[in-house]
C-alpha cells in the first residue's frame, strides 16, 4: 500500500492538477451561503449534524439507555434533517471533483507529515485519531467548526465566531511551530 502511494505521489503532487483560483472558490462558497441563508434558512455547518450522527455510534459503546438518557443528545437527537443530508453531500461533491480533476488517489501518510515524522502509517493514524478526538471536542465546546463558526458565523460578524477564528488560528500557529520546529 505504502509503495503504491509513494509512486503516485512522485508521479504528480496531489494538488498539482487542480487549477481553480482560491478566490474563485471562496466566492463560490460565499454565493452558496447566500442560498443557504436565503432559500433554506440554514447556514453552512458540519459538526452539529456530525454529533447527531455520533449518537448512532455511541449506542454500542455506552449502551442505548445511556444515549437515550444523555442530556446533550436529548437536546440534539439523531434526525435526518437539513444538516445531516448536507453532511452526506460533502464527500459526494468532493469525490466528483477529485475524479474529474484526476486528483483522486490513496493517501496513507501525507507529504508534510512524512517529511517531519517519517513514513510510519501507524504513527500517522494514531495522530489523526487523537487529533480527531480533540478537534471534535473543541468544535462542540465552541459550538461550531471552520464552516459553522469560521465561514457562516464570520460572515454574520458574530462575536463568538470572530473569537473562535482568532483563538483557533493563534493556537494552530503555536502548535504548528512546535510540531514542525527544525530539529
Amino acid at each position: 500500500m505504502t509503495t503504491i502511494t509513494e509512486s503516485y505521489v512522485r508521479e504528480a503532487p496531489r494538488t498539482a492538477r487542480i487549477d481553480w483560483s482560491p478566490y474563485l472558490v471562496g466566492a463560490g462558497i460565499g454565493l452558496l451561503s447566500w442560498v443557504a441563508f436565503g432559500v433554506f434558512g440554514d447556514p453552512l455547518g458540519v459538526t452539529t449534524a456530525y454529533s447527531r450522527i455520533a449518537s448512532l455510534f455511541a449506542v454500542p459503546v455506552i449502551g442505548p439507555e445511556a444515549v437515550a438518557q444523555n442530556s446533550y443528545w436529548k437536546s440534539m437527537p439523531l434526525k435526518w434533517d437539513y444538516g445531516v443530508w448536507f453532511l452526506v453531500g460533502i464527500p459526494f461533491g468532493a469525490f466528483v471533483s477529485a475524479v474529474i480533476s484526476g486528483t483522486w488517489r490513496l493517501e496513507l501518510v501525507p507529504d508534510v507529515w512524512k517529511e517531519r515524522f517519517g513514513p510510519s502509517v501507524a504513527k500517522r493514524f494514531a495522530a489523526a485519531f487523537l487529533g480527531g478526538i480533540v478537534i471534535m471536542y473543541g468544535a462542540r465546546l465552541a459550538g461550531g467548526c471552520t464552516s459553522g463558526h469560521g465561514i457562516s458565523g464570520g460572515l454574520q460578524l458574530a462575536l463568538s465566531s470572530w473569537l473562535f477564528l482568532a483563538v483557533m488560528f493563534a493556537t494552530g500557529l503555536a502548535v504548528s511551530a512546535l510540531m514542525f520546529r527544525a530539529r
Binding site: T15, W20, V25, G26, A27, I29, L32, W34, P43, Y50, S51, A54, I62, N70, S71, W85, G89, I90, P91, G93, A94, A98, T103, W104, R105, L106, E107, P110, V112, R124, A127, A128, L130, G132, I135, M136, Y137, G138, L141, A142, G143, C145, T146, S147, G150, S152, G154, Q156, A158, L159, S160, L163, F164, L165, V167, G172, L173, V175, S176, A177
Partner: protein
C-alpha cells in the same frame, strides 16, 4: 417545502460545498498544514473571500427581509477553550471536520481514521456535557451578539474594512508569492 426538496436540497448544497472545497485544494492535508506553517495561504484566501462575498450578500438579504441572522451563542469561555482545542486538533489531524469529510472521498485513509476519532470526541463531549453546562458554558455568556451590536460600528463599515483589509493582505501575499517564484 416538498419532501424531495428537504432531502435533495441539502444534498446538492453539501455536494456543491464538497466540490468547492476539493477545487480549492483545502481537502489536502498538506495545504492545511502549510497554512499554519505560513508557507501556503490557500486556506486564508478561500475563507477570507467566502466571508467577504458571503457576508455582503447575507447583509443585503437580511436588510431586505429575505432571511435572518443565525448567530451562535457567545459563551466566551467555552468558545475560547473550544477554539484552542480546535486549533490543536486541526494541526495534529491536518483537517477540519468539513474538509476531512471531503478528503475521505478523495482517497485520504488517514482522514477516515481521524473521522472515527471525531466520533469518539463527540461521544466524550456528550458524556461531559452536564458538567460543562454547569461550569464552563455559563461563564461569560453574552448571548447571540454580533460585532456591530457590541462596538456600535455599523455593518457597512465592518464589511468595507474587511474587504479593504482582505484585499490589501491578499495583494501583499500574491506579490510575495510571485517574487518567491521568480527568485
Amino acid at each position: 417545502m416538498t419532501a424531495m426538496m428537504t432531502i435533495l436540497g441539502p444534498l446538492v448544497m453539501g455536494a456543491a460545498f464538497g466540490f468547492l472545497l476539493q477545487r480549492g485544494k483545502v481537502t489536502s492535508c498538506n495545504v492545511i498544514e502549510n497554512q499554519f506553517r505560513l508557507r501556503d495561504f490557500t486556506v486564508l484566501k478561500v475563507m477570507g473571500t467566502a466571508i467577504v462575498v458571503g457576508g455582503i450578500g447575507v447583509l443585503l438579504l437580511v436588510d431586505t427581509g429575505n432571511t435572518k441572522y443565525y448567530v451562535k451563542d457567545a459563551n466566551m469561555l467555552a468558545v475560547a477553550l473550544g477554539a484552542a482545542l480546535f486549533g490543536v486538533g486541526m494541526v495534529v489531524y491536518g483537517y477540519c471536520p468539513g474538509t476531512a469529510l471531503g478528503a475521505i472521498a478523495t482517497g485520504s485513509v488517514h482522514a477516515l481514521v481521524g473521522a472515527l476519532g471525531m466520533i469518539a470526541g463527540a461521544i466524550l463531549y456528550a458524556l461531559s456535557f452536564d458538567w460543562l453546562k454547569a461550569n464552563v458554558l455559563n461563564v461569560g455568556a453574552l448571548g447571540k451578539v454580533r460585532l456591530p451590536d457590541v462596538t456600535g460600528i455599523p455593518d457597512v463599515v465592518w464589511f468595507a474594512a474587511l474587504a479593504v483589509g482582505a484585499g490589501l493582505f491578499f495583494w501583499w501575499i500574491e506579490s510575495t508569492e510571485a517574487r518567491q517564484k521568480k527568485g
